[in-house]
């Protein structure tokens, strides 16, 4: 019976979504939501993705995903002991989300009159990457709700082998999905926003990072939880991850933080979501503390993999707290001191970078755990001391970033060598996903440092035909043309970059959208493994020259590659464990 109801719920929501999508495709502008987010000039693909381009539709999609995962759970795990409580938990969440949707964010409201055309989809959102970024993000949030429901089930029924297996599966899927969403958003920011970066420590980015960090700690804490190590800690992280994702919804959708991502705010939405957050927070944490006596946890012994894992969790939670404070502190100052404040990237990068180094040091320590335990310990400690002294002699010559780069590169080589040694001595790598995952995190750190240290930007004024020498390469503005498309007109600037006889062409555009007259810039990017040439077309001057922002960004491609490797590791780790 229960499983049938979950299918019915999913089917009904699917019909509702299909109905709304149909109105978008039919250009039925008598629907206020369609009118506000679409127009008849929009390409069909974007008419469809406009469905989730604003608050109402995106929330409906999130509910659809939640209902979908409920149905999948019932389909696959109907026999499991944990399913009744998991179902009840998800149904509880679903109920309040639907109330919220119906009473504060109904996408099916209509006008009495039929407008001839809509006000168009926000041009920044007219990008293939951004069309898929929101659904993936919502899926990530929603999957953590399922993980949460399993944790709650464990609190009532006890954590057994089966529950751990499914918990690891859902935690892995959620983690993978959320990471993918963050990567997609990051790629979009780099290619579409034209600010020349991939991560801005923008409040809404941070808000997504919070559940991700908690989820990362959670997934790691699950590894040894079957041996009852840190069981209650694992449960606490599972609950926190879900709560942070609701908190994220509240902050983004109530508009209390100003950001490129903010939806138009409506006070009643904020009040509802905040109440929802309070309800879930007190209910789940209350339950956690009342039941935590039953969760017998063991403390791991010193110098063991489990102990390293505890350290890893501590570092991740400290990073989480740093991001949490930095993101929410502006709200506090606005409320209590009536001051608008925004916390810059320096706060985050200067505090988090050392902690990332600590994480990498933990990866390395794990490699030498055997030596640390054996009687060769003294040899190892002595060699580390010698290496440190050796490095210290050069410290005065090197700046901290270079030192960091050397450290990370060293870590990269050590991890790679260890994996190779293991592979050639045993013809197999035991925990492939872990090694690959840790390797890609180190590679990611290396690329980010590279980008931070070597990237350069200048603002120049060029006429068609003009050239400029910058950082060993010549940039030439080849031509400027005006082109027309269905829903926008654009000024297209062609550039060429000449470096050691290698010529690359870049095209940057400035688009004027026909409805509402919004102007956007399309960046011109030419990528290679090591560096990107990045050109943004600015304003035209009276004398016919154009202002141009020209940057050389290092390591961007490596950042994408390492993130994709990380995703592979997560996916493989999740699938492998289940033998599918």
């Amino acid at each position: 019976m229960g499983s049938k109801l979950s299918y019915a719920n999913f089917s009904v929501l699917l019909i509702a979504c299909a109905y709304l999508a149909y109105q978008f495709l039919q250009d039925n502008f008598s629907f206020i939501y369609v009118f506000e987010n679409s127009s008849n000039l929009l390409p069909v693909f974007y008419k469809f993705s406009a469905f989730w381009s604003a608050h109402e539709g995106s929330f409906l999609l999130m509910i659809l995903f939640l209902s979908g995962s409920l149905a999948v759970n019932n389909l696959l795990f109907w026999e499991e002991k944990w399913i009744p409580i998991s179902n009840a938990t998800i149904a509880f969440i679903l109920f309040f989300y639907l109330l919220f949707q119906i009473f504060t964010s109904n996408p099916f409201l209509t006008f009495d009159i039929l407008p001839k055309n809509g006000t168009d989809l926000n041009p920044l959102l007219q990008d293939p990457l951004l069309a898929i970024h929101p659904p993936v993000l919502f899926a990530g949030y929603v999957f953590y709700a399922v993980t949460f429901s399993l944790v709650i089930a464990g609190l009532f029924r006890g954590f057994d082998k089966e529950l751990f297996k499914n918990l690891k599966l859902w935690a892995g899927i959620s983690w993978f999905t959320l990471t993918l969403a963050i990567l997609l958003g990051s790629i979009w920011a780099y290619y579409e926003l034209g600010w020349g970066g991939y991560w801005f420590w923008d409040p809404v980015e941070n808000i997504v990072l919070l559940p991700w960090l908690a989820g990362t700690a959670f997934t790691h804490s699950l590894i040894y939880s079957r041996n009852k190590i840190l069981l209650s800690w694992m449960v606490f992280l599972g609950i926190s991850t879900f709560l942070l994702s609701i908190l994220g919804s509240f902050i983004v959708r109530s508009g209390i933080l100003n950001s490129v991502h903010s939806f138009a705010s409506d006070p009643s939405r904020g009040i509802f979501l905040l109440s929802l957050f309070a309800l879930f927070a007190f209910a789940s944490l209350g339950l956690f503390f009342s039941k935590s006596v039953l969760l017998k946890s063991n403390w791991p012994e010193l110098i063991s993999k489990q102990y390293l894992l505890v350290l890893n969790n501590i570092v991740l939670v400290v990073i989480l707290l740093i991001v949490f404070l930095g993101t929410l502190y502006p709200i506090v100052t606005e409320v209590f001191y009536n001051q608008k404040l925004s916390i810059g990237p320096d706060y985050f990068s200067s505090l988090i970078t050392p902690l990332v180094f600590v994480l990498i040091a933990l990866f390395l320590a794990e490699q030498f755990l055997g030596y640390l335990k054996s009687n060769q310990r003294n040899t190892l400690i002595i060699s580390i001391i010698i290496a440190s002294v050796f490095l210290f002699l050069f410290i005065s010559e090197l700046n901290p970033v270079t030192l960091g780069l050397i450290f990370v590169a060293l870590a990269l080589i050590i991890l790679l060598l260890r994996a190779l040694v293991e592979f050639f001595s045993t013809k197999d790598i035991k925990v492939m996903h872990k090694i690959l995952g840790h390797f890609s995190v180190v590679l990611l750190t290396f690329s980010v440092l590279l980008n931070h240290e070597f990237s350069e930007t200048i603002d120049v004024k060029l006429k068609p035909g003009d050239e400029i020498e910058f950082s060993g390469a010549t940039l030439k503005l080849e031509s400027i043309n005006v082109e027309g498309q269905a829903n926008f007109d654009s000024v297209v600037a062609s550039f060429s970059v000449l470096e050691s006889n290698l010529k690359k062409t870049l095209v940057s555009e400035k688009r004027v959208y026909k409805i509402g007259g919004v102007i956007t810039a399309e960046t011109g990017i030419s990528s290679s493994l090591i560096k990107d040439y990045h050109v943004v077309l600015g304003d035209r001057y009276q004398d016919g020259s154009w202002s141009i922002r020209y940057s050389i960004n290092y390591g961007i491609m490596m950042i994408w590659i390492s993130s994709i490797l990380l995703l592979f590791a997560m996916l493989y780790g999740t699938i492998r464990r289940h033998g599918y």
Binding site: I113, A278, L285, E334, V335, G517
Partner: protein
């Protein structure tokens, strides 16, 4: 014991957080009020043109009672209030001047052709600069000027109710 301290700590953080957020929601509502421009006087620096490109004599804006209505062909609420504006110009002696806000001129002309033109003329404000100086935050907005001073300002749709409340006393 450790659990109890942890419990108190976590709950205290939660309560503080929720209290702060609630306060920020309340604050936000106050900030969200858009500033009304009543009492300010019109200050025109640049030349103004109508949709067809004719220059507009400034006296027409600065003398007597002038009802300024911000509209655009892409603005749905403007379409909603359009019949009311037509009826008010027909039934009362109202000098209604439009401000065509961030609109393409051919769309604007088509809009007036299809829905009727109650305006004496419409100031063509493609960039939105003139409207910005006036204090416009979006379309539609309606201003009543008496000798160049804003005496009444409506942000949003004008209908019979709003008219009686904000404008009728001057006519």
């Amino acid at each position: 014991m450790a659990t109890r301290i942890f419990l108190v700590l976590i709950m205290a953080i939660l309560v503080l957080m929720i209290a702060t957020f609630s306060l920020s929601l309340v604050e936000k509502e106050e900030i969200a009020l858009i500033e009304n421009q009543e009492g300010k006087s019109l200050n025109i620096v640049d030349d103004l043109y109508d949709i067809e490109g004719n220059q507009i004599p400034l006296e027409s804006l600065l003398e007597g009672k002038v009802l300024l209505n911000v509209w655009a062909s892409w603005c749905i609420t403007c379409l909603v209030e359009h019949p009311f504006l037509k009826s008010i110009t027909q039934s009362k002696d109202v000098k209604l001047i439009g401000i065509n806000y961030k609109d393409q001129s051919f769309n604007a002309e088509k809009y007036l052709l299809e829905n009727g033109d109650p305006y004496i003329f419409s100031i063509y404000d493609l960039s939105g600069e003139f409207s910005l100086k006036l204090g416009v935050t979006g379309a539609p907005e309606t201003f009543l000027l008496i000798d160049g001073v804003i005496v009444s300002h409506r942000i949003g749709e004008v209908n019979m109710e709003i008219w009686n409340e904000k404008f009728a006393q001057y006519f």
